[in-house]
């Protein structure tokens, strides 16, 4: 089976956000594989181990993403592709990323493409479905279970807490929801092997794309932090009285009940 994983490098969830000159500062920040993409990678590995084939993990970004690609290889992916847009693209959005990924994938004959259902930084959840649509293949988002039997696929999809059991077929793109699996940590032999696995670097030129072809359709004009919360009120006294006071405060002061 020819399997592809779409991966994004994101800020570690532990990071606080600092804004410098109107942009989110990356100084000293730790980066990780987007947590939802980790589920996608793990699922890809399980599918390959069961059905055979090869996994290529692909990312659009800059050379810094090599580290996360190596991590994906250490987990068990077979090949990695970095589409480096740093020198070519000034402003990008989900339209840009999807267009580039689809251009890369269009002649690769993928059977299965996996991605996270959302990236924890931008949080739009657009790229997966956009890529599927550009490739003309079906997709199912926020999946928690994937069963493949020949070309027949049964998927469980999380829909705001309820589950849909969906039947579809390969080729297919799915996006991973939490609960799909428990991503493995790279093993030491895995890390050693990863160093020798192929990591290909491409630029827009290699995909016959011009910057104009992938020009963003939206533009960020400002980034700001939420207003600082003032210290709240810790209630005092007997527990029973505290509870009475709280209910009264919520009713009369905060007016939320």
């Amino acid at each position: 089976m020819n399997i592809f994983v779409l991966m994004k490098r994101t800020f570690d969830t532990e990071e606080k956000i600092v804004i410098n000159n109107g942009a989110v500062s990356e100084d000293g920040a730790e980066f990780i594989i987007n947590p939802y993409d980790e589920y996608a990678i793990e699922e890809a590995i399980q599918v390959r181990d069961k059905h055979g084939g090869e996994i290529t993990v692909v990312t659009v970004g800059n050379e810094e993403a090599e580290k996360e690609l190596r991590t994906a290889l250490a987990m068990g992916c077979d090949k990695a592709v970095l589409i480096n847009i740093e020198d070519d693209v000034e402003e990008s959005d989900q339209y840009t990323t999807a267009k580039i990924l689809a251009e890369y994938l269009k002649d690769k004959n993928p059977d299965l493409i996996l991605a996270g259902n959302v990236a924890i930084d931008g949080g739009s959840g657009q790229v997966g479905p956009r890529v599927a649509e550009l490739l003309g293949i079906p997709y199912v988002t926020t999946i928690t279970k994937l069963d493949i039997d020949g070309s027949k696929v049964t998927v469980v999809r999380d829909v705001e807490g309820d589950e849909e059991i969906i039947e579809t077929s390969l080729p297919l793109l799915v996006t991973a929801q939490q609960g799909l699996n428990e991503p493995r940590y790279p093993s030491l032999p895995g890390i050693m092997k990863a160093k020798k696995k192929p990591l290909e670097e491409l630029e827009l030129d290699d995909l016959d794309l011009e910057e104009d072809d992938v020009e963003a359709k939206t533009k960020t004009i400002e980034i700001f932090l939420p207003p600082k919360k003032e210290a709240g009120k810790i209630l005092q006294g007997e527990l029973v009285d505290q509870v009475k006071e709280l209910v009264s405060l919520l009713h009369t002061e905060a007016k939320v009940v």
Partner: protein, 325 residues
Amino acid sequence: MARKVITLAEVRDGSLRNVSFEAIAAAKTIAEGGEVVAVLVGESVQAYANELIYYGADRVVVVENEKLKNYTSDGFSQALMAVIDAEKPEGIVFGHTALGKDLSPKIATKLNSGLISDVINVEEAGGNLVFTRPIYSGKAFEKKITTDERIFVTVRPNNIPALERDESRTGNISNLSVDIKDLRTIVKEIVRKTVEGVDLSEAKVIIAGGRGVKSEEGFEPLKELANVLGGAVGASRGACDAGYCDYSLQIGQTGKVVTPDLYIACGISGAIQHLAGMSNSKVIVAINKDPEANIFKVADYGIVGDLFEVVPLLTEEFKKLKVHS
């Protein structure tokens, strides 16, 4: 510039979701005096059309087809594309719901259009329509504009106030017949797991439990409190990882980002990842045994104590309040 804007209305459990009305309000701002057309898609949905007019839609287009009984991206995109072909809207607004998130990127791609997802505010500023949305799960926000002809956004539930319901409003309701074919995904079964029926993303009140809840049964008092307040139950990653509840209840940077009017955190320490998912709630109450718990830093009101003592007392007090008011 007056624009024609279409909105997609959503029916769940036999009623229109609130976010459908909020989408109409957002569409009004985007339309800048132009027409707002609400779209209803399903097997039998005509009956909901008037309600959309009462909430501000100028017209309603209904697409009914037995193949649209369950949502599929193929089926609904065919219905929507037919409406878009007929109406030629300059703006499109969906709810940022499971359906909206799944469908909007497909439609945007078909239209070769941009898409601003998860919008919490729309305003006109300096000749532009400016859309605010959270990034890093609410640790920061960005303001975006479209550089495209068409404006396409999804709006997060609970953030843009719906217009006042006005039963005296009237508007045309029309049907569009669409041939739905070649569905590549088939919904075999829908398993209901949300028993209480209040969806986390739309809930006005959320009672959330953390590791301090200690077990699956430990969520019972939280559920009772949620029932009294008509709210939903949520959880921290700690509680989910410990197996006390389903991952679908998880609130945080992984999991759901919520902005209810009232968030009551019970036995939640307040890791930065959890705070990202709930700290933009209007009012936060923290109940925790540990006075040093991080959650108190974002709480408007805090009670230092055992949640198993405090929560049942709260439930009783709220019951009394409901009786009196």
